[in-house]
């Protein structure tokens, strides 16, 4: 903790701010709301101070100084918009445009290009450059990522990502001076589990993901903060959506979980998540399975549970939210909880060498830890655990692909809570449509025991609703609880019932997530 005596006073564009020693001018400026333009600087990478875009005037200094590396000194007075600083900034942009193709209308980064942003800001998209430009063309660097040499401003962010974070220095600046460009070894493509971060760090459209190329313009996408469902790491992400579909995911910074990064597999997993044939309406089994309205569906569920069907067993997906699992548990408890099971698909783990807290975890589900906290057990074959159960049978968000013949046939009542109606699910007595993580607010508990919130990014299809909503309404009908009005309220109830969540609320979890009780004491002991 820096005490008052060790903080330093800086004045930036007339705003005074106290910062700890070692703070850079760029960081100090952000505290007073001044965002300095930058190209080479990225908070997750070393700072080589080479683009010279962030130069500012410091009173008493003979030259403009690079704010991304220059540390503040007590009583420093900084001007970020002095005539000299502005001229220097304009000049950097002009220099960058000397060899830039100015192909913004067809560039994938248009709309989120920092060169374009600043060029507009300084009002100079037409240039004094009349001499012919060099042409470099395009080239793949990975099977999926294309490098457009003419757009590259040689900020070396991608090089530093591969060197410092991936710790596989396979991307390099080749040649020198104005002939420089980024390359693997000529012609070689590289593959790396985290390679797409180089597209994210590229401040211009020089590195482009081919899958996304020309498919959607960046400014067309709506963004929602979310958590990657790809594995138990729980990377903080932002979902880019268009026409109610997920088009891409980008990492959101969280120093405790994923820093500024996420893996390639997670990105691919979420694209179009939940699209396709969806279960959109509640259904009840009569002669056959028929759509009904919510009233009838919930009444039927209430009746079935009141009818003492025998103790409940269930299969849940570890991709379900804490809130859904909690409600499932409570529904099952009405009949008597007799065991719940979930499968954990496993695959190879990929640790990010330069930030080893982050790995594409071998557990390829986001909420196995949460499922365990609500008393569900991991099983190699969850279907076998419940297949011949004779009481109440619940299935949550598991499509039952590969369930054995006659799954659920012996159950007194078979309740299917899901997003997809597979042949096995069609045998259910009551079918309740639920939402995917992307269609609701909720939380996952990651492998560390960190509870993290996600926000809705899509409209749910048809009549599908989050389970906390339909389930808590059922509990109210059963007289064992009240219907919750929000995911937050559901979470508050959950936190009251489960010690591990004691004291947590949506508010206290905030954007960064919070550890469950046992994980807190564990880190306290370790630290």
């Amino acid at each position: 903790m820096a005490d008052a005596s060790s903080t330093q006073k800086v004045t930036i564009d007339g705003h005074e701010v106290m910062v700890p020693p070692g703070t850079t001018i760029l960081d100090a400026a952000e505290r007073v709301g001044v965002v300095l333009p930058r190209y080479c600087y990225h908070p997750g990478l070393s700072a080589p101070a080479l683009c010279r875009m962030c130069l500012v005037e410091v009173e008493g200094a003979p030259k403009l100084l690079p704010s991304c590396v220059q540390q503040v000194q007590d009583d420093m007075v900084v001007h970020t918009t002095s005539a000299d600083a502005r001229k220097a900034r304009r000049a950097v942009i002009e220099f960058l445009l000397v060899n830039h193709p100015l192909d913004c209308p067809i560039c994938d980064a248009a709309g989120q290009c920092e060169l374009q942003d600043y060029a507009f800001e300084t009002g100079q998209l037409h240039t004094r450059v009349t001499d012919p430009k060099m042409v470099l063309g395009r080239d793949n660097v990975t099977p999926e990522i294309v490098y457009f040499g003419d757009r590259c401003i040689l900020c070396t962010r991608c090089v530093r990502f591969m060197d410092e974070v991936a710790q596989e220095p396979v991307l390099q600046v080749v040649q020198r001076g104005h002939k420089g460009y980024i390359d693997t070894m000529t012609g070689d493509l590289f593959e790396h589990a985290f390679s797409m971060n180089i597209v994210d760090v590229c401040p211009v459209g020089a590195l482009v993901n081919e899958d996304f190329l020309f498919k959607a313009r960046a400014w067309d996408l709506d963004q929602a903060p979310s958590i990657c469902p790809g594995c138990s790491q729980g990377c903080n992400i932002s979902l880019g959506t268009k026409e109610n579909q997920i088009r891409r995911a980008k990492p959101r910074p969280n120093m405790e979980v994923n820093s500024y990064w996420m893996c390639d597999e997670g990105r691919k997993t979420v694209v179009n998540w939940g699209s396709g044939d969806r279960l959109e309406v509640p259904m009840l089994k009569g002669d056959s399975l028929l759509p009904v309205d919510w009233q009838r569906a919930l009444s039927a569920l209430t009746e079935a549970l009141r009818g003492e069907p025998g103790a409940a067993r269930g299969v849940a997906s570890a991709g379900a939210s804490n809130e859904a699992l909690y409600i499932l548990r409570r529904l099952m408890e009405v009949a008597g909880f007799d065991g719940g099971y979930f499968a954990v698909p496993m695959a190879e783990e990929h640790v990010l060498a330069g930030f080893p807290k982050l790995a594409l975890r071998s557990e390829r589900v986001p909420n196995a830890r949460g499922a365990e906290l609500f008393g569900f057990e991991r099983s190699d074959d969850p279907y076998a655990e419940v297949a011949s159960h004779t009481g109440a049978l619940f299935v949550l968000d598991d499509p039952l692909d590969g369930a054995p013949e006659g799954f659920g046939a012996s159950a007194a009542i078979f309740v299917y809570l899901g997003t997809r109606l597979s042949p096995a699910a069609r045998r259910a007595d009551i079918v309740i449509p639920v939402t995917t993580f992307a269609e609701m607010e909720g939380t996952f508990t990651n492998f560390q025991g960190r509870v993290q919130r996600f926000a809705p990014a899509l409209q749910p299809p048809g009549l599908a609703r989050p389970l906390w909503m339909s389930g808590s309404a059922t509990l109210e009908r059963l007289g064992t609880g009240s219907a919750y009005r929000s995911a937050a309220e559901t979470f508050a109830a959950l936190a009251g019932d489960y010690e591990e969540f004691d004291g947590l609320t949506y508010e206290s979890i905030g954007p960064g997530g919070s550890l469950i009780a046992s994980a807190r004491t564990q880190t306290a002991r370790a630290g």
């Binding site: 080749v174 000529t186 070689d188």
Partner: protein, 180 residues
């Protein structure tokens, strides 16, 4: 070929352009393996050996092929891309084969003032090549280079491991004859 054992202090400091190179020469064998090992002892870090080791490869083979790059990367625990970023930064490493005599003419300001451009022209004409090409007989490649650090002796021409001072258009023919 210098079979005499070199002092480790200078094992990495041998001229890298020689007429009698062989593009297929084995790398890192015999005396060269010894030199490689000696070079490594002179630095606290393997990476630092990259310039002397690459120079040694060029001394043997006359240029740096992608095969050489991969060998060097493997020996020094670096990626091939890293080695390429080095060979392409330092202009003395040749990315393709050159003639037996690599004729480098300084055309920086000191030599330029004293007629370097004419010397280049004369050399190109006499060897029947264009800049950077290998002459038909495989003997010559003429290139322009920046200041060779001998500006008072303009025009400065470096042919493999020899420096020719005060070259004039009139002495070009003699220079070429001397090489044969």
């Amino acid at each position: 070929m210098s079979e005499r054992k070199l002092h480790p202090a200078v094992a990495g400091a041998q001229p890298m352009y020689r007429a009698e190179n062989d593009p297929d020469a084995p790398l890192f064998e015999g005396a060269y393996k010894q030199r490689f090992d000696d070079i490594l002892t002179r630095y606290p870090d393997k990476r630092a050996a990259i310039l002397p080791v690459l120079a040694m490869c060029q001394e043997l083979r006359g240029w740096i092929s992608s095969e050489t790059i991969e060998r060097v990367a493997e020996l020094l625990d670096l990626t091939p891309a890293y080695v390429l970023s080095i060979t392409s930064f330092y202009t003395m490493f040749r990315p393709q084969p050159v003639g037996k005599y690599l004729i480098q003419v300084c055309t920086s300001i000191g030599c330029d003032l004293c007629g370097a451009e004419n010397v280049v022209e004369k050399l190109l004409a006499a060897t029947g090549t264009r800049t950077g090409e290998i002459s038909e007989d495989g003997l010559y490649t003429v290139i322009e280079v920046e200041c060779l650090g001998a500006c008072g002796f303009a025009t400065v021409v470096q042919v493999n491991e020899r420096v020719y001072e005060s070259v004039k258009t009139e002495t070009v023919t003699r220079l070429l004859e001397e090489l044969r």
